[in-house]
Symmetry: C3
């Protein structure tokens, strides 16, 4: 249940990061809204399509559309007055990533997929929205570059599945998955941890 609220929080945060990316590209109001929605809902949408869960989640429950749209509009106002400090936003984004990955993995497991595919679905739920955002704004997807971002989601998803396999309580497994992703991502932000490049 806590996860449900955290999920809506993640939707709002991702919509904010999407709006800011659209801002940097000088898109108009509608473009901002589109990028915000795509960033916030893209990962879960791709997951649902791959799993054959149709219609996708935001068609069944429109509240996430409303939340993402409101977050985008508030961002437009807040950004004009410089009310969006970068640091807290990075932390909120890390939490959104952690929650999305755990929920994505769980959703996949509910559809009876193999563990490997469930991990991919989890990571995808966390990062695909940002990838589509980067494509639409003409950037090479940042998360594929050097920072530990998707890797953090991967570790959290693996931790969740291991905990479930060990038959730990569901609530504990979720908490573990979220924590692993969050800690790794924060370490990457504060300590500058990086994966080796392929040279």
């Amino acid at each position: 249940l806590v996860l449900y609220w955290l999920d809506l929080f993640g939707v709002a945060v991702f919509a904010v990061t999407g709006s800011l990316a659209a801002r940097r590209k000088q898109l108009d109001l509608f473009g901002v809204l589109v990028i915000a929605l795509v960033t916030a809902l893209g990962g879960g949408t791709l997951r649902d399509m791959l799993l054959g869960r149709s219609p996708v989640f935001w068609v069944q429950d429109s509240s996430v559309i409303v939340i993402a749209s409101v977050a985008a509009l508030l961002t437009v106002v807040a950004a004009r007055w410089n009310l969006l400090p970068a640091r807290p936003l990075l932390l909120a984004d890390a939490l959104g990533l952690a929650v999305f990955s755990v929920l994505g993995t769980q959703t996949a497991l509910e559809s009876d997929v193999n563990a490997l595919a469930a991990i991919i679905m989890g990571v995808m739920t966390g990062v695909a929205g940002g990838i589509i955002r980067d494509l639409l704004t003409g950037e090479i997807p940042l998360i594929l570059q050097r920072e530990i971002y998707a890797t953090a989601a991967l570790c959290g998803s693996v931790a969740l599945i291991v905990a479930i396999e060990l038959q730990l309580p569901a609530g504990f497994a979720e908490l573990l998955g979220v924590t692993v992703t969050l800690v790794l991502r924060l370490a990457a932000i504060w300590r500058g941890w990086r994966l080796p490049q392929f040279t």
Copy 2:
């Protein structure tokens, strides 16, 4: 029924704009065909996948594939002889956008989705083909930039849904939706109307 013919008209027009974009990028004949098909069928395809309507529409009825291909090939010939004036093409494109948006919204409503999702599906049917075209040809999607394009589709889709909610006759509701989009788009072209940018 008129809408059915207008739909095929829209497919042909979008195939033409796709071919011209491919031409500017100096793609070969096959590339032109791919971009034309993607532009003409991409929006409806994405809508069908999101709604879980499978297989997608052009798998069930191949006539749209034929129409888009023929339109692409004719464009190759016509463009070489400068037979494609830009102005009428813009008008035809506006009509295609209007028809696609109304049909997309209707298709979504038939699948019993909420009104908000139906509007998104309508806009997506109208504009996603063009967005994929821009991605494949290495452009930042134009419609997310300054002109009123997707916004016109949005207003037409909203008008359609309001008219249906008010229980107006279906034919009138469709006509209203198409007209709203068309008028807004033409105003944007002729009057240079724009949405405020996010600065």
Copy 3:
């Protein structure tokens, strides 16, 4: 049955080409893995989603995920020691393209789609992975440019369908489809065959 092994071979080869593309863009290890998986599995994934075959193939059988991942990691090692000569890789890629296109067409036919859509599905299975790879690494999709690549897949797919319509034995039809694509692609590589550009 031979086709099944060739399919796994194709997955590995496409993963290698994906890894090399990621290397050129200096992505980190995780980015390499993502691009490799997308290149190897993207075409079949898109086909399955369009056909409404859900969940998609790699969710049902995770062996392709393992093969693509291992191929990507081996590529990282081999590329550092310059163990990947370009020529043999081009040939292997041509074989992968041929096999994917034939299998994609067959999969579509099993789902009772019309011949035109089956051809599109076949070509898409062969080339969509490479297109997504190019999008994610910030390139204009190469296959839409001048070389005969997708066109070879198209001809192989058409040959397969004609052979099936003529009620030739299934094994012969498959062999024909693979051969047509392979020969055309190799001719393009060695002879420099090209399609006319659209000027």
